[in-house]
Symmetry: C2
Subunit: 440 residues, 2 copies
């Protein structure tokens, strides 16, 4: 009996303790994000200002097939590949740097006026991988640090945690990062015996702050980078989504001193399901080649190469639009413009200036996000009440500050909503504000 | 004049020194691999036993379209998704764990008899990302180490370098890892104050050693893992490519103690261009959920999620073959079987036993690789001569030993060759051996 019982008893599986796993997994920010996703998932019918997703009204399954065929034709006709070589390009292991580099270079020329060498371009599994590769390359030991704006994109701080890179936050104003603040932060870090390597910056409609750097500040930031001998990591997912007044030149296009590493993403301008991003890293390296070659070596140990299939789909989409993503996403840009106006008008109507609501907000001129300051603590508990009692979701801003601020701020994303959704959502938000006012 | 000259002089771009970048980039193994790729690239007309690529004769561009449509139909008909939801699944940001987990679970049941919970499966950007995630999770500090066979897959040692994880190599015999050697290595590491966390193992036709562990050794290794409280990372890209005598059970299917984390790849059984792999990590974690949930959190900071498009293509392929990859890759398996026989017969014909050639080889019963021992140092210099003078390429084995052996061995891969290629290649190899004999 006893032996049989022993045999029957399932052996206990070993419990892995989170404390025995990498420190990034014990990070409170990660737990908060998980909580946030849970709250969002629990209230599927709420109006959601939370998701950072692009507008999805123009997605068509048939387009995937068209784009794949378009890219195949390009390989045959423009690149002169035979049938067997085309198949190899689509199905086989491919070059680590990518197979659509030439098309990305054309796009950079057409849309941004950035002249790029295809060999200095590395295609990545979304721009998230590009950030991880950059930080892995630059972080040799615990003295290597990077700078970023506060608030900053959580994907960047996540990449920093994975690579154990300390991020020194530089508070940003309505005009984005102040180059003098960046210089001061670098000087301070050096005085502490640290090695500031790079500053991460979204000059156009930053996520989440919505700020856009002026042309003058862009030039000043480039000078600081040169004087202080650091790199600038320019992340540009949103510049296409301006208010109709046109774009400012990217840091990369203004850079005459080779200081800018440029990160691009097709997740917002095309669609996220491909997971295609890229990095332009044309800095020469002592060993020869570009910084991109070193990043490619790291990539060969991370993901080997980026899905050829996904590259082909994005490649075909680029070709279909003459390699202009500005053209490709013009309809989405119009939606975001309209939604931003609806949101700002709606906020002004519900929280009139001097009306004593204690609510204020920034006035971004583009992008996908606005930031609202409220007279209560905007944490997960408030969000849970907001979802349950009022049916409206948003993102607590303090996530983007690594614990240094934003406790009474929330981020509103308006990219996937209709004008009517926005109006209903703002009514609900106003009800939440009223219920919470005076409570905390 | 002077001022003008100053203005005209291009400002020097900052030179990044490799020494200022992450240590993995200064690793001699990485430089060797780059050299190897260069040699291979410089002699495109040589017979190449070097590439670890799968047979590409059955790739058809049209199949991609068919598979995408098949997966779309599955989402509609089996999962009950509406048109809009299908589009969202293909184009939008998706769940970090993946969208084909149910199909992978079916495949594990059909092909391997492994019962898996879809929530314990994480889809990854090839199995390379799975290895990086696992090592990132398990490596908290410099005391955490992992074990692996010598010789071992360079992708694993690459992932270890990125995550700064020390790999303790355990020499393998013709039957693969000896569980007693593994136990001894763990004991030794513990005596040195280290924390052995896991042992990486390819039980079936290891790359590059070609060994297959016996059923008895598999059971013994599982016991060692339980007694010594470590995980086994089972990597299984090749088990389908057996000699026709059938497969042995995977470690995962024999595991009653929850010790095995199972890594799968569709790069060899389907095609590499999708970059789809997965990890089954069903170990419960103190915080709740599976180990796969923790790996997913890390993945959300590495690549966010795996290309939905690539997952859809592999999903459609799985559906087309009743979720059996054994069925899907039967034609390729037949090619590899035939080629292995041709290779082994060809070696025996050219280097008869007792003929004094000093050449010997292993006799794998499956997989994609054989190992040949030669009477000279098989390094990049020998490879360069082999390519230039004799028109035949191979892979130096010492890459797989992290400097601990294999200097007179070379790996022959026969997966993309015809029987005629193999014969021509072996003639050339014999000529190289003759030319080199006595020289080193």
């Amino acid at each position: 009996m006893k032996a049989a019982a022993l045999l029957e008893a399932p052996r206990a599986a070993p419990l892995l303790a989170v404390a025995d796993l990498h420190t990034s997994l014990a990070d409170p920010a990660l737990t908060s994000m998980t909580l946030l996703n849970e709250v969002t998932g629990n209230y599927p019918d709420a109006v959601s200002f939370a998701a950072g997703r692009p507008f999805e009204g123009h997605y068509r399954t048939e387009a995937l097939h068209r784009h794949l065929r378009r890219f195949t034709r390009y390989l045959e006709q423009e690149r002169g590949l035979g049938e067997e070589q085309v198949r190899r390009a689509l199905f086989q292991y491919g070059p680590t740097k990518g197979i659509i580099n030439e098309l990305i270079v054309r796009q950079l020329e057409v849309d941004e006026g950035i002249p790029a060498d295809p060999d200095a371009v590395l295609v990545t599994t979304g721009c998230q991988e590009a950030m991880v590769l950059l930080l892995r390359a630059l972080r040799r030991d615990e003295r290597d640090v990077v700078l970023a704006a506060a608030p900053t994109y959580v994907g960047f701080t996540g990449a920093a945690r994975l690579t154990e890179t300390a991020v020194h936050l530089v508070p940003e104003g309505p005009g984005g990062l102040d180059p003098d603040d960046v210089a001061r932060s670098i000087t301070r870090a050096r005085a502490d015996g640290l090695h500031p390597r790079a500053c991460y910056v979204i000059p156009d409609f930053a996520n989440p702050g919505g700020s856009r750097m002026s042309l003058d500040d862009r030039r000043r930031l480039l000078r600081v980078a040169e004087e202080q001998d650091i790199l600038l990591i320019e992340d540009n997912p949103y510049s296409m989504f301006h208010d109709g007044q046109g774009r400012l030149p990217t840091l990369k296009s203004l850079d005459t001193a080779g200081r800018v590493v440029y990160i691009g993403s097709y997740s917002k301008t095309a669609y996220p399901g491909a997971r295609i991003g890229y990095v332009v890293a044309d800095q020469p390296v002592t060993q020869g080649g570009f910084f991109a070659d070193q990043l490619a070596k790291l990539k060969s140990m991370f993901t080997l190469n980026t899905s050829a299939l996904a590259q082909a789909a994005i490649g075909g989409l680029l070709l279909e639009h003459g390699c202009s993503m500005e053209r490709a996403c013009a309809r989405e840009a119009a939606v975001y413009r309209r939604n931003l106006r609806t949101l700002l008008d709606g906020l002004a109507a519900r929280f009139p200036q001097g009306g004593g609501s204690g609510v204020s907000w920034n006035v971004p001129t583009g992008g996908l996000f606005a930031v609202v300051t409220v007279p209560f603590t905007a944490d997960e508990e408030a969000l849970e009440e907001s979802a349950r009692r009022f049916g409206v979701l948003w993102t607590p801003m303090y996530h983007f500050y690594a614990g240094t601020g934003g406790l009474r701020q929330l981020r509103l994303s308006y990219s996937v909503l209709t004008a009517q959704d926005i109006d209903v959502g703002l009514d609900r938000l106003a009800a939440l504000v009223e219920a919470r006012s005076g409570r905390s």
